[in-house]
């Protein structure tokens, strides 16, 4: 199994998000005051400052906004992976997250901007939290 860095707690803003991931849910917030999507999670709305935020569960589908295939890295847990794709994915609910696109035979040729992708939860040797990554649909 992969050995990615785990989230560390206590960390007040991201705990509920990661509890969701552990339960197989990709959670995000919207603001009750201004109705904007709020991501990454915070206790205040990043658009208007309101503390009235509601949690939702994303359907986990979206499009690749941009990506890069990392050919050289010195990050523990990634050095042994070979080339891997870092990406920003725009979820259909309107939030953008940094993630990886996995499951392609050759990430340098098989990933493209606008490509439809779906979340999956990759179990880790490094700890209890799986990591949400995306695979082309």
């Amino acid at each position: 199994m992969p050995n990615r860095p785990q989230p560390h707690f206590p960390e007040a803003d991201t705990k509920h998000y990661w509890d969701g991931v552990k339960a197989g849910e990709l959670r995000y917030q919207t603001c009750d005051a201004c109705s904007k999507v709020n991501f990454t999670p915070t206790a205040h709305c990043q658009s208007c400052g309101s503390n009235a935020l509601s949690w939702h569960v994303s359907k986990g589908e979206g499009s690749v906004y941009t990506y890069s295939v990392v050919r050289q890295n010195r990050i523990p847990g990634f050095v042994e992976l070979g080339a891997y794709a870092v990406a920003y994915v725009d979820l259909d609910e309107g939030f953008r997250m940094l993630t990886n696109v996995v499951g392609t035979a050759n990430p340098t040729t098989d990933i493209s901007i606008g490509q439809r992708v779906r979340v999956e939860y990759e179990q880790q040797d490094s700890g209890e939290y799986p990591i949400p990554v995306f695979r082309p649909i």
């Binding site: 990615r4 998000y17 990506y67 890069s68 990392v70 050919r71 990050i75 953008r96």
Partner: protein, 393 residues
């Protein structure tokens, strides 16, 4: 033009070595400060303003003052990555104009090369924060952030690596005329210490798609210092002052639905040009933070030298090299080919000053106006932009 000349750069120094084993970052800062004061004809005791990005072991606002033996009246420890020094210039202008400071300094020292710090290919540090928890699991290297900007720029505007490679080619041409840059590339064991072609860039290996090795800056040791003074002090310095006409500051970060091809420069540029009372078309020298080719490309667009998405055509029109007509870029050899110890922003101010004094190794005859634009943090992720407009005396 209604240009106000309220503060000037009076003295500069760039630490000459890019591989400096056995020397500390703090020693580089102190040695550079002494040389910059000498360049200005000022003394240690003249300093009354300390600006610092917190680099160096045991440094910062407290530590550096003690280390240097200073009693500053203003201490500003703005740390916003590689553009910190453009922010320092902005704050020095503000503080000098307010009458609080007469002789302000900013210094920089780093031993990133000797310490083998993998700035570009390492990940974000560990630690326990909202950002580490959301980004740490994905192996995003520093370079991959910039690469994602290039990927999107190519997708939206049809920009090509061939076009962006001209930034590397022009910068290397300037570096080969700068003896310190040649020594840097030699000491850092560049495969080829010579001018390069577009083909060389295209054939260099990809570090993070779509960025090639020759589109990436070096990792060096280094540092330097810059002395900012009031108009009264500027009257009695050794060399001609270089005036700070206008400044702008901004930050940008991942936003839902945001445009990754537009940098913080789009916000920091307009107020800087407005305060200076000049337009991009009047600028002779552009010192733009060249961490990567794409950084220069997006910042030139955002500063208004061409429209968003038209950088490829702008480059094709013959700009960049000092002996071609049009805007001239990074005449010291830049971070790509002369000096990048991690926070290059200081060197942008230093080379702009050399050009406006007529001292560059790739001098543009009669250069009168320069822009120094620093980009700190991660283009494509959380970053800052600091714009400084400078004028010859």
């Amino acid at each position: 033009m209604t240009q106000e000349r309220k503060a000037a750069i009076a003295g500069i120094h760039e630490f000459p070595l890019r591989v400096a084993p056995g020397v500390s970052a703090m020693q580089i800062k102190a040695a550079s400060l002494k040389a910059a004061l000498n360049d200005a004809g000022l003394d240690w005791k003249d300093i009354d303003g300390l600006y610092d990005a917190g680099d160096g072991e045991g440094g910062g606002g407290l530590g550096l003052a003690a280390y240097l033996g200073l009693r500053p009246r203003v201490i500003d420890t703005t740390q916003v990555g590689g553009s910190s020094y453009e922010f320092h210039a902005a704050h020095a202008l503000r503080d000098i104009a307010a009458g609080r400071v007469n002789v302000a300094i900013t210094t920089y020292g780093s031993t990133a090369a000797s310490n083998r710090i993998p700035i570009g290919t390492g990940g974000r540090g560990g630690g326990q924060s909202w950002s580490a928890n959301m980004e740490g699991p994905y192996g995003s290297t520093l370079i991959s952030n910039y690469a994602m900007v290039k990927q999107r720029h190519m997708f939206e505007y049809g920009t090509t690596t061939e076009q962006l490679a001209e930034i590397s080619v022009a910068t290397r041409k300037h570096a080969m005329r700068n003896p310190e840059a040649v020594k840097a590339m030699t000491d850092l064991q560049f495969v080829k210490v010579d001018e390069i072609t577009v083909e060389d860039v295209l054939e260099s290996r990809i570090v993070a798609d779509p960025l090639h090795l020759l589109e990436c800056c070096m990792v060096s040791d280094g540092g330097g210092a810059c002395v900012f003074v009031s108009p009264e002090v500027a009257r009695n310095i050794k060399k001609k002052p270089v005036w700070i006409l206008g400044t702008g500051e901004a930050t940008k970060y991942r936003e839902n639905g945001g445009d990754i091809t537009t940098s913080a420069a789009a916000q920091s540029g307009p107020p800087a040009f407005a305060q200076a009372g000049v337009s991009p078309a009047e600028i002779d020298i552009a010192m733009i933070y060249d961490s990567f080719t794409i950084t220069v490309a997006t910042c030139l667009e955002d500063l208004g030298f061409c429209k968003k998405g038209e950088i490829g055509q702008f480059i094709g029109d013959g700009h960049l090299a000092f002996d071609k007509p049009g805007l001239t870029l990074n005449t010291d050899g830049g971070g790509l080919s002369s000096n990048h110890p991690g926070m290059r922003g200081l060197f942008l101010l230093l080379e702009a000053t050399r050009q406006l004094r007529g001292e560059s190794t790739s001098q543009v005859p009669g250069a009168k106006l320069a822009v120094a634009h620093g980009n700190g943090g991660l283009l494509g992720g959380t970053h800052t932009g600091g714009t400084v407009i400078l004028a010859a005396d």
